[in-house]
Symmetry: C2
Subunit: 317 residues, 2 copies
């Protein structure tokens, strides 16, 4: 139920508008390259969200002047399609549309993508850079590590919503995240803690606390017994990514006045009434995710151009 207009306090932040700002930067950067970027999408579905998302990627790429080709596969040929794209020096970046198996075999496929072409930043090589707070691949700090595109998209939306301030931009902020997957929720909690926030991260097994480390740069993870009600009541920022209709929607009564509410699930995780209490509501993240993937492809291209192939060690030194 939509609240009556006079009860609505929240502005709705359209991720497509924020994405457009980044695309302007991307277009300018692309213009400085000596060749056009060529990205490949591996798609094992002929309908549904993956198909729609692949089409969306194609439009976003065309929009900024990046060549994009969808390579159709079955779940059994997806690995070969990834390997072919890995091996092709003409391919600068690879995007894979999950779920493919919908099981832990998808994690195996994610790690099959060459990290130096992994524009989504989903390879565990990049996860280990993130968890180890390794921001550069070389001592000279010329080759920046890639961040996973969805958590990065969320963070840029937090900034666009006006919730960033100062050198450690989330210092003193309390955050509540519903999702602790290896590809979004855990890296996001870690990134926000690096930026100074205290993050209560919920998954089906309960909460964990991600907090800035005392020393400064790193983060710490601690057990916590805080419950949903308390975490939501205290949260300046609430991020949801629960891929289920069964998740009890986050309601206005649960959140803090003036909170930022962001949903990255393809399911609805917030009740409409949060518009009457939140300061900013971001109903979806998708357009920013694609834009961050394209941005990552630029960074990877520069890394390759500058310093050669990324070493595929599984642990940062």
């Amino acid at each position: 139920m939509q609240p009556s207009p006079d009860a609505r306090t929240a502005s709705v932040l359209d991720p497509a508008a924020v994405a457009e700002m980044f695309r302007r930067e991307i277009r300018a950067e692309l213009a400085t390259l000596s060749e056009p970027l060529f990205l490949v999408g591996v798609l094992a579905a002929d309908h549904g969200p993956s198909f729609t998302y692949a089409e969306y990627t194609r439009k976003a790429c065309e929009d900024v002047g990046v060549r994009f080709e969808i390579r159709h596969a079955t779940r059994l040929t997806a690995e070969d399609a990834i390997r072919a794209a890995n091996a092709d020096p003409g391919v600068h970046g690879i995007m894979v549309y999950y779920p493919i198996f919908g099981t832990e075999q998808d994690a195996y496929l994610r790690d099959t993508v060459d990290p130096s072409k992994d524009i989504e930043g989903l390879h565990t090589f990049w996860a280990r850079c993130l968890y180890g707070n390794l921001r550069f691949l070389d001592a000279a700090k010329t080759r920046k590590a890639i961040l996973p595109c969805t958590p990065l998209a969320v963070l840029k939306l937090v900034e666009a919503a006006g919730f960033f301030a100062g050198e450690r931009p989330l210092e003193g902020r309390s955050v509540c995240i519903f999702n602790r997957s290896e590809v979004v929720g855990r890296p996001l909690a870690c990134m926000m803690a690096h930026d100074g926030a205290r993050v209560t991260s919920f998954d089906i097994d309960g909460p964990l606390l991600f907090a800035p480390s005392a020393s400064g740069e790193m983060h710490e993870v601690k057990e916590t017994t805080v419950d949903r009600a308390t975490a939501l009541r205290e949260a300046d920022i609430v991020v949801t990514g629960v891929p289920s209709r069964e998740f009890p929607h986050v309601r206005a009564a649960e959140i803090r006045e003036g909170a930022l509410c962001i949903n990255f699930s393809t399911f609805k995780n917030f009740s409409d009434d949060v518009l009457s209490k939140a300061k900013v509501f971001v109903p979806r993240v998708g357009p920013m995710t694609v834009t961050m993937a394209i941005r990552n492809s630029l960074r990877l291209y520069k890394n390759m151009h500058g310093g050669g192939k990324v070493e595929e060690t599984s642990a940062p030194a």
Copy 2:
């Protein structure tokens, strides 16, 4: 319900007895080394199956003359415990007792173990060797790849049960496996197909067929619509590893006369009446799994001793 003794056709193969044969070989090999092997177990539980299994490992190691130390951790300190063991040149092998998080984060932890100390063979580095049928790490074929210890244990039990014959020892055999996890079911299906079997692999999403490739050495994976009844009726070998009480037990009426039935789940997956129709029944695999892990530690030690550290590339060439 136990069948009456005269209805029982199956011999029950005790994995501990088979393990003892391998342990004799292991003791003899250990005697040729210039130093005792030292293995570390990372345990984040103080009771339950993981705890019991860790204690069992300690006894098995003592039995063959390998030093074994259990390092207690919490789920949040397990990664540090693994990294410390990775970095310690005095530690020759590492075993981690899962579940630790019980989520996909456990896969992240599995890949945190240095592959050259991963005696369970669970790192995706080893999975990629297996799926690519890369049996050696070097061109001179002096450094053998490690196989994951539970699938290897199952295969050795198939051999001990008398179901191996000829150069491609499972040629012409039909196999049915219930479990397609990344750590047991999928590698097992692949290994059995390499050995010549046609394997119908079931998981919660349905079946896949793993078959020997026409060319010989490799395997192929194909979609199939075969159902449980048909797969079981045709199977010479039935392997179950369903971690659930809900799984409908495999019954005598479903299996082929003279089949080999192996259960590696900690839950009971077969009905007792299979003893009246199977040729050999293997109720558990655990003692062989531990023994294969110790055997892997010997192989890894030799690899390190001969050819230095395993390169941590995530994909075999």
